[in-house]
Every structure is written in C-alpha cells, then in structure tokens.
Symmetry: C2
C-alpha cells in the first residue's frame, strides 16, 4: 500500500512569557492550555495579523523598499488605553519598531505602513501593549475637568512620567522635557488646569510617541517575510526566438539560414533602445527529430522544418546543452555579456519535458512513465496525444529528478542567467517547485522565476506561495474596463503580498480575439495598459508590427514561430507595415521616469461616465523619504474601433499630492507632450489609430 | 522596565513525510524550505481548511452529534484525478475517515459534513490524494470511446483494480466484485465497450468509494476539535434573584422578609413545569454595607435596603460564602438537589469584584489597585465612580489571584454547580479566562461558562475562542427582520464553530425600547424568536407578567431587582396582570419535541413581501441516522402594534424533506394546533395580542 499520511501539528512550541516580568501573568503555568488545543492568547490579545500567507506557513513577500500595510486586531479588557507596534526583524536579527494607529476602534483594528530596506529573510510580528500614559492622559483629563480626584490624578501623572524616564531609554533632551513636565505637574501652587496641561502637552506626547512606555507587551506569532530585489516586482520584458533573429530565407534554395546567438545579439541594442529591462529567450536546447512537428503544429515535419524548441533533447544533448546551430557556449556567454552591457538581463525558458530523443530517455527511463506495454507515455490530454513530448514523471524517482533539474539550472546560472520563465509549471508537482526555488535561493537569492501558469486560480496562487516571484495572468482575457478594474484590484490587494503579476498583451501562444480584430489601436491600448497597470509586463517580438493574423479557430498566431523561422526584416521599410517601437519606447521611458509606475499596491481606480473608459492613477509606493514618489493618471478608451468621449470623475484626494476635491492640477500627457489644467471632472476624447491617442498617460503635478 | 515581548514562532516543527514511502518525494530533503520560511506544501496541496479558529491556535468547537461542514482547497498538477478525505481523530486516537466531494472544481473546493459522537479533545485534518482509479476511469472511457490505446487502457484498468485489492483492506465480497471486474477487463474475446463497462460499473465504483485506492496522500496540519456536551449548545434558561423568591413585604412594619434557598426552591416546580432546563441564580454571597446602593441605584441606601448582590463580600465572607439570610450550605445543597430532581441544572453568577467589605480587601490588598494616596481604587468609568465596588487588578499578583478564583469555583462545583454565568468577563484579562476555563476542564469538562459580554465583537469572539461555551449577544438590540436575519446568519455560519449565542429578550439589566413600548405582543414575539432562532435562550423572571416599565431615560427596569426585593405573588390572581407562563411552556415544549430547534447551524431564512415579517426554517442538524431530524418553520410579525398580512416566498427544497418547488406540505401550527396545506407562497395574517398569534411555529411534514 503506497498510502501514507503526515500530520504536522499546527501548534507551534508554546513559548510562555519570560518568568518574573512584572505585572503579567507569567507566574501562571500555561501548560494546561495545550491539553485543550489552546495557545496562550497573551495579556493583550493580538489577532488576525495581516498580510500573512497560509497562516504563516509560507512567507509574506515584498521587494526592497516596497511599502505595504500591516494590520491586526488588538484590544484589551476594561477602559485602559491599548496600543500596538509592528516589529520588523531584519536578516541580522536587529529589530525595527513601527508605531501602528487604530483606524477602527469599534473593531480594534490597527494598521500602519512598513517597508524593508534590503534583501533577505526578515520576519515581522505585531505587539499589543497597555499604554499607561495614554490611560492617564484620558482619565486625568476627564477627571480633572470634572473636578474629581484632582490632586491624586496630577500626582499619578507625575508618576507615569517618572516611569517613562526610568523604564525607557531616551535622549537627554527628551528626558529634560519629561522632567520639566513632572515638576509642573507637582507645582501645587499653580492652577490644576495649568499643571494638567504640562502633562499632556504636544511636546510630552511627542516624546512618548517616539519611545512609548509599554506595559504588558504581548506579541503575535512571528511571521516570515522574504524581501527580494526590485526586479522581482518590476521590469519590462521582451521575448524572442533566438533562431529567428538574423534568420534569412534563401529564395533560390527555398531554405532558411538559421539565426544564431551572434546574430541575435545584433538585435539587443534595439531592444535596449526601446527601454526594455529583460530579454527573454525561448528554449535554446537541441530539438528532437522523432515525431517533430511541422509548420502550424502539423504532425509530419518536412526535412527542413526546425521543430519546436519546446521538444527538447536530441543526440546533441538535453536541457543543459545548446542547440548546435545557435552556437557554442562562448557564443552564448558573449550574448549574455552583450545583453548586460546594454543593461538587459537575460531570461531563459525552463520547459521540463523531453523529446523522445532526449538523453534522459535512455539514461534515465525512470524519469518517465512506462505503460503496461513497456512503452514510454507521451504527453496527453485524453484522448489527445502530443507525440513529440514525453512528460517527466516526478513520482517515479523524485530525489534523482530533483537533483538533475537542479544541476541543469545551475548550468545556466553559471552562464549568467538569473531569470527563468517556467513553461507550464502547473503540470509539475507544486512541491517540486517549492524545493527547487528554495534550493537555488540558498546560493542565488537573486534568481527570479516567472510562472507561465495559465490555469485555475488556486494553482496560480499556490505556485506564487511556494516561491515563484512572478506569474503570467489572465490579463490577455480581461478586455473591458470593468473586467480590468476588478482583476487589478484583486491583484493589487488580495494577493499582492505573495503573487506578482506580469501582464502580456500577446505571447507566442496567445493572440486573443481583441488583438485579432482591434488592429493598431488594440496594440497601442493593450501595451499601454500592461505597462502602466502593473510594474511587470512583457512584449512578444513582432508586436511592433501589429502581427494580428490568427490560425483559424485558434487564439494563436498564424504560422506560429514555435514551428518555423521568422525574418522580421528589422529596420527595413515594409510598405503598409506598422512600427510601434516608438510607442513602446515612450511607454518604457514613462515607466523609468515615473517611480509610481514601478509599484503594484499603489493603484486607485477612478470613474468615467462612459463604460469604455478605464481610468486609474498610481501614486508613490516605494521607499521612505518621499523622494521617489510621483503621480501618474492613465485614461484609456478601450474601444479600438471608435473615438469616444466621456466626462471623468476623479478622486482628487487619492491622487496623493495633497489635492482636495475643489482643486485644479496640471495634467501633462506623456504620450503627446500636451499639457492642461484639469479639475475633478474633465472631459476627454480619445480614439483609435496611432497618432489619435487611445490613451492619456498623464503626469500629475500641482498647478 | 516592565516591557518584554515573547515571540512564539508560527512555524510548527516540520514533519516531512515518512522516508521511503513509494511514489512521493520523501527522499528529497525539505530542510532547505525552512530557510525561507516555507512549510512543505505536500505532494497534493491541501489549503484553506475550514472551520478553524485563529489558524488552529484555538480549537474548533462542536457538541456531541452536532453536524458541521469541513472544507478545503485541494488540487494537483496536470490532468490526473484528485480526491480528498476528512480524518477525525477521537480522544483515543482512533481515526475516522469521511469522504469529501468537490462542490466547485474551478476553485478546487472540497466539502463534507461530519460530526463527533462523544465529548473530549478530538482533532481533524484533511487529506488530499491522487486517485488512480478515478484517473483511469476518466482516461479509459475517453480513449476507448475514441479508439485510442484500447487494449492498453483495458489492461491498465485491470492493473489499477489489482492494486485496489492488494493495497487496501476490504471485505471478501468487495474483493470478489473487483476480481470479477478484472477478469472481464481482460476478456479479450469480448467487445471493448463491454470490458470497459465491467471496469466502471456502479458496483465497482461503490467498492472503490467505500475504501478508495489512495496515492500520494498529503495531510493538512492537524487542527484541534473540542467536543462538549449538548447543554453547551442547547438549553432554556430561567433567571431568578433567590432572595425575591418567597420574599414577603410586611405592610405593618414596612419591612421585607427575605426569601431563602428554601423558599426559592418552592418556585422550582413551576420553572421546571414551564419546561426550562436551567435555573440561573444571581449572586448568593454576602453583600457589602460600605457605600451600599439603595433603590434604583441611589447612592445612599436606607437601613433596610438589601444591597446589590453584585457588591460581593462582607464580614460574613466573600465569593466562596453564602449570604447568611439565604441559608446555610445544607440549604443550598437542598436547593440544588431539588432542582436536579425537577430536571433543572443550577447556574450561578460569577462576578469577580469586591465590595469594600470583602475579606480579600484586608487579607489580599494586593488583589486590588492601590492609588498614589494609598487608597484602593474604586471601579470607574471616568469621571464616573462606582464606590460600592473594588475591581480586582489581575496584573498585581496574577498567580495568587488565579489560584484564589480557582478555589472559589471549585467550592461551587463541589456543591453541584456545573454552569457559571460570568458577569462582565470583558473587564478581566482574556488570558485569565483562558487559563481558568482550561484548568477547570481538566477535572470537570462538563462545566459550562456563559459570558455576559455586552461589548465589542472582537472581545465577544475572543472570549468564545479561549473557552466560553456560550455568550450573551446583541439579540436584545436586533429588532427588525433585516437586522435579525443578518445577525443570525452571522452567528449560525461565520462564528458558529467557536461561539454559541444565548438569546435573552430581557435581563435584570436590559429592557429595550421595543420591550418598553411593545407590551404583551412584544413579549410574545421576542420570547418566541429567542426560543426558536437559536438553541439557547433565557428568560428573566417576571417576563411572564410583562413587566415593561423602565427607569426613565434608561434601558432598564424601573425599581431594578438588583437593589430591592420583589414579591411577584406567583399563582395569585392580580387583576389586569398578564400571565405568559402558558406561552413559555408552549415554546419549551416545541423545543423539546422538535429536534431541529435544538441546533444552531441548521437555519434557513425565507422571504416575505412585508418587511415586518421574519420567516425562517430549521431542519435536522444533529446525529447521523436521521432519526432526530424534523423541520420547523417560523413566521413572525415583528410589529407589536398592528395586525399585518403578507405573502411568503418559501424555499421549499431548503425545508429539507425532499420537497420540490411545486409541492405542497402540511403546516401544523404548534402555537394554536391549527393545520393547513401550504404551497411555496402562502398568505399569512398575524397580529399583536395574546390569542391573536403574532407568531406561527409550524411543524412541516409532507402532506
């Protein structure tokens, strides 16, 4: 029987408060609680800490300097004042306290905004505490005003401030302020109101806020917080098939001359020149010949069809080898170096499947599923079969497969690849990715994994939870303003603490009806939205040329590049052909110039009277000194076929520049350079066609 | 500095799967995961298990035989079939498996209904697993129908069934069914469709469902489940002031003769006769004389004012003593015995506060707060003071106070009290209650605690989470149909797995405007709703007489019984006085006769065209053989001033008797004995005034 079950207890080791700490119930044994499945609730209950992932079983995620909210329910019995603090613990175990504020007293809901300033494993917790000064300030004010216990309350105020000096380290200047207040509280010759005023002055309150007198401090559990480099959140991707870049069709022989790493590298300056951050290469490994697919995914390839780079492996090698026609390792290394010299990172496809000719098939048949007749199982979606592909069966010999994949990944890391775009991760065990990503991160925490998981929400979320830094999304299929708003609101709030979206208008596998029918306007709109709604987006090469023709009946390009070479004749004038490279350059420049476009959780949607319009703004979102914050407002007409006008209803305070509802502001359009003075309800008119602006990308400043 | 913090880790000890179990990644070390704050996600991810409390930090609660839903998100990579099981672990560590069903494949949401059949500490977990038979059944059917791999798929089916015999224990009759199916699958002379049919027959599927072949079983964490006696959920309470029961006013002397335990016991047959389950006594301890309150909470009591029983403690003793005028321990024991003989449990008030005359004040001044002038602090809500009361300061010497209260509680347990109604628990530390309730439960798991926590939601919920079996609620202030529906939906779903409501139309402290102005109709309606909406409800004595007069400006009875004696002249005819004892008897009889009224999570609300009507049904809700399930439908006109009519829109399938939308049913009114045949949209007319029925309580049966 292969069945087994593991039952990890959810209960952490109970760590009672240190014995002997004054004024708490430390002296009471809490061991009886565990009999009834109870963890100690703490002197000051701290519950519902957010944002956490799977109750803390997996880390909360953010990138360096990314602002995020921490909240908790904190309350106590009786009338005394309660307070709360976030404690961030950095990778060196140094603690950083951030004061919280109560935004809903009825629900005991406390919140604040925090960030972590460097990469690595942090943790955070929320501490609830009783606030003796806050209690005295309230009670003393109320009672002295009512003439109750006047002398007593003033003396008790002096004693609280004495404790604030004795029990908390604070600078001499602050001690002096408190000492002075104590003297005044006890100045019995003076009127009571004056003595009270000395104890509750702004100055005293600021001193106490800077270093509060905290009593009965009760900590929530400690939650893991994994801080990654900013590229894990933010970047502009550009996808190429290396063999196409520099490929030439010979009209005399009817044969193709393949592109190579060397010829593909010639394209890098143009990609970098458009402002992209990452050049993503589809697989560069040897391609199998058994059951090779022909053009448009046909079953019988011709002699000269190059085959799908996703049918990996031949006598020339497998996942750790280069397709010999692309070049050797020196050529690959040169490509990576030239990309880096242009400011581009190289991302590589990781597609864990084998052609029947992959070396693993003979060396490690146990990596695959053997059927009742002794044959190796093809990939299937019954009754369909994919006969150029053997899927890896991770359950046959997991330790050996894990180790082998880890070796493969290390080969590419050693050749300068620090970003992997993972093909169909949702067809491999989630626990495999969890292990692989962690094992790589031990020595290479800079490595970034993008999940190509076009699948159900729970799988996409689980892949993010176990380590993928980014995920492809449903963006391509969210085309109306209402759909986009709902989806981006979900991504920027509900799941932003563990899943980071990457928006692609098209890929080599995806060409939606909107893109097939919307022409140039659709391509302008969808790239602009992808580039501004979220901090990571990607463009599949050829987008500049509005390659809109689909294979009939499929949401996919006609003549899919997976099965053939493409010569896009870059830089040549082709009559009637669009060139959106200027548009993409403008988008990437806006993203670089405007820090607010580099963050995820800082988006606000606004209203338009016409449902075809999507209106949103982004403000701030990173770091702590305010220097990198600005505001960008995007207004898009999503109808690629018609010019449309609408009145907008802008939430001016949400623009984040101190604007109030009745203010005006300067709106400078980054698309056209035009500039207007707008109020909260401007009328806009946007239309399809390049030059007619389907989108405003507006830098907002105070007029 | 009194500050300190504890940081229990949220991470359990990671328990990797047992090494060597076939077909899983057990051989892979998961230790690297902890570096990144990752707990192993398991071969088959199982996430979002519900219902749990504070991520499992506190137990899920239910009573014996109470049905509740367990759900989880369970999914796997690829196309293979996944399945899920709830495992209940009883107090003797025996495991009980319950199959789950997928109610939302798109979200991977699995659910089932479970119950636990005896008291004690259970646990539960959800196991996700790969389902080889389910995979084969799907793939085999699809491929054989398409003519793909026919012989291979039939052989693979035979092999799956061989594993189902070899790897899982099952009765000989089931083995025979599978063996026969294997033979037929391999009967190559027969047509493929016939052989396939043998492998996917209902009979074979039933055998596999009874004891599935489970592969890569992956368990969620184990969550604590505390099962209590049914009285923790269900009971009808009746509150008395013992000193009033048998109190007599002497018109000649102008003085009262107090009631005693002996005279109060004379009232027990009437309380039992009305069908109540619990008689709840306000405090029975000595009452302080210092700053004693007079009638209507006045500051200066007269010589003969009896004082508030909540100002506990005098030279005669404290919380572990009896008020000498009520009688001695023999009298108390006799009272408890007589109650039990009538089928009544005795509940006692636990009000942890002291009069200035309490023995603790001199013996343990450290139990209280000493002010800067050396005086002991009165209870306060600044600037108001309550000078007949000293609150206990649990932080001064927690261990000693905890131990003292524990001793007090034991005194009453030893005298037969197993239910405590706790006065104002939200003014004492939550962690104190957590400890006290657990410590008592070690030897007395039958003890039930009712929290009188009229306070903010997070505190009410926290008290329930840490151990209180029941809580008073906002019921008294939910008076419209919309308010009641929203509130009961919350209580019966969101919090029902840890907090059990107790509904009181009035208490000795609460008389809402609805009750002050609604007269007899209000008293009929509110008692009927309390008795039927939730399984626990309570009546404060005198309710029978519609004691509606309030102290001006307060939501409280005039001449509050806390400060004086009451002689209600039970059994005497008082002209013009109502007597609702028959009504209450009817309500309690309905509750006893109809099991559906004894459960919380089994309520469904229905629609009425008139907003004054509240319409709900309860069905089933307990045990497992179906024998105790019935359906009751309640229709109430909440307007106590007017007769109103409305058409109802009943969700007939939700009535739970197999009724479909177009069926009729028998509606027998338990209030009047009238009986009708109703369809899904009956018209009803209900009105105020006893005898005119403001409420139908309808037993639903199939016509």
């Amino acid at each position: 029987m292969t069945e087994h079950s593991t039952t990890p207890s959810v209960l952490p080791d109970v760590q009672p408060a240190p014995a002997g700490a004054a004024g708490t119930s430390d002296a009471v044994s809490t061991s009886v609680l565990t009999v009834f499945g109870q963890q100690p609730i703490g002197r000051i209950p701290v519950l519902d800490v957010q944002p956490i992932v799977d109750a803390g079983a997996r880390p909360t995620r953010a990138v360096v300097n990314e602002l995020f909210n921490v909240s908790a329910t904190v309350f106590r019995e009786g009338h005394d004042a309660v307070n709360a603090t976030v404690v961030l613990v950095d990778p060196d175990d140094a603690e950083h306290q951030v004061a919280m504020r109560q935004d809903n007293p009825g629900l005991g809901h406390w919140t604040t905004t925090v960030f972590a300033d460097r990469e690595g494993m942090w943790s955070f917790r929320v501490e609830g505490w009783s606030d003796p000064y806050g209690t005295w300030r309230h009670d003393g004010t109320v009672k002295i005003e009512a003439g109750v216990d006047v002398e007593l309350m003033l003396e008790e105020g002096a004693r609280v401030l004495e404790r604030a000096i004795d029990e908390v380290d604070r600078p001499p200047r602050h001690v002096a302020i408190l000492t002075d207040a104590i003297t005044r509280l006890r100045a019995s010759a003076h009127p009571a109101w004056e003595r009270l005023a000395a104890g509750i002055s702004d100055e005293v309150q600021e001193v106490l806020a800077a270093a509060p007198l905290r009593e009965y401090v009760s900590a929530s559990p400690s939650y893991p917080l994994w801080i990654e480099r900013q590229r894990a959140l933010t970047g502009a991707w550009y996808e190429i098939f290396p063999r196409s870049e520099g490929a030439i069709f010979n009209w005399e022989t009817g044969l193709w001359q393949t592109g190579t790493f060397a010829s593909a590298a010639e394209r890098l300056p143009a990609i970098a020149g458009m402002g992209f951050d990452i050049v993503y290469l589809t697989p560069v490994h040897p391609i199998g010949s058994t059951n090779r697919k022909g053009r448009n995914n046909t079953l019988n390839a011709g002699d000269h069809d190059p085959g799908s780079p996703y049918a990996i492996g031949s006598a020339d090698g497998g996942h750790d080898a280069l397709h010999p026609q692309l070049g050797g390792w020196d050529d690959f290394d040169t490509f990576v170096a030239r990309a880096q010299a242009q400011g581009l990172e190289v991302a590589l496809d990781l597609a864990l499947q084998a052609s029947p000719d992959h070396p693993w098939v003979t060396e490690h048949p146990e990596f695959f599923t053997t059927r009742a007749d002794g044959s190796i199982a093809y990939a299937e979606n019954p009754p369909k079969k994919y006969q150029d592909i053997y899927p890896v069966n991770f359950d046959n010999t997991p330790a050996a497969i894990y180790a082998k994949v880890r070796e493969v990944v290390q080969v590419w890391i050693d050749h300068g690849v620090k970003i992997f775009r993972v093909d169909n991760p949702h067809t491999k065990p989630v626990e495999f990715w969890q292990w692989l990503i962690a094992d790589v991160a031990v020595d290479h925490p800079e490595v970034i994994w993008l999940a190509e998981a076009f699948t159900k929400p729970m799988m996409m979320r689980a892949l993010a939870k176990v380590g993928f830094q980014q995920s492809y999304t449903y963006y391509a299929w969210r085309n109306t303003a209402a759909e986009l708003r709902e989806y981006v609101e979900e991504l920027s709030t509900q799941t932003a603490h563990y899943m980071r979206p990457n928006f692609w208008p098209t890929t080599h596998d995806i060409l939606t009806p909107y893109m097939q029918t919307g022409g140039t306007a659709a391509h302008l709109i969808r790239s602009a939205l992808a580039a501004t709604l979220v901090p990571s987006y990607g463009i599949y090469t050829g987008y500049e040329h509005v390659e809109w023709r689909n294979r009939p009946g499929a949401e996919e390009h006609l003549d899919n590049e997976k099965y053939e070479f493409k010569d896009r004749r870059w830089g040549q004038h082709v009559p009637g052909r669009e060139d959106l490279s200027g548009w993409l350059t403008m988008l990437n420049r806006a993203r670089r110039d405007h820090p607010s476009l580099q963050w995820l959780r800082n988006i606000t949607f606004h209203e338009a009277e016409n449902d075809n319009f999507l209106v949103f703004s982004k403000h701030g979102g990173g770091a702590h000194d305010g220097s990198d914050r600005d505001t960008v407002l995007v207004v898009a007409n999503l109808d690629p076929h018609h010019v449309r006008g609408t009145r907008l209803h802008l939430h001016l305070p949400a623009l984040g520049l101190g604007l109030d509802w009745d203010h005006r502001f300067r709106a400078r359009d980054l698309v056209t350079g035009n500039s207007w003075v707008w109020d909260r309800a401007p009328y806009v008119r946007l239309g399809p066609g390049y030059g007619q602006e389907p989108v405003h990308i507006i830098h907002v400043t105070r007029d």
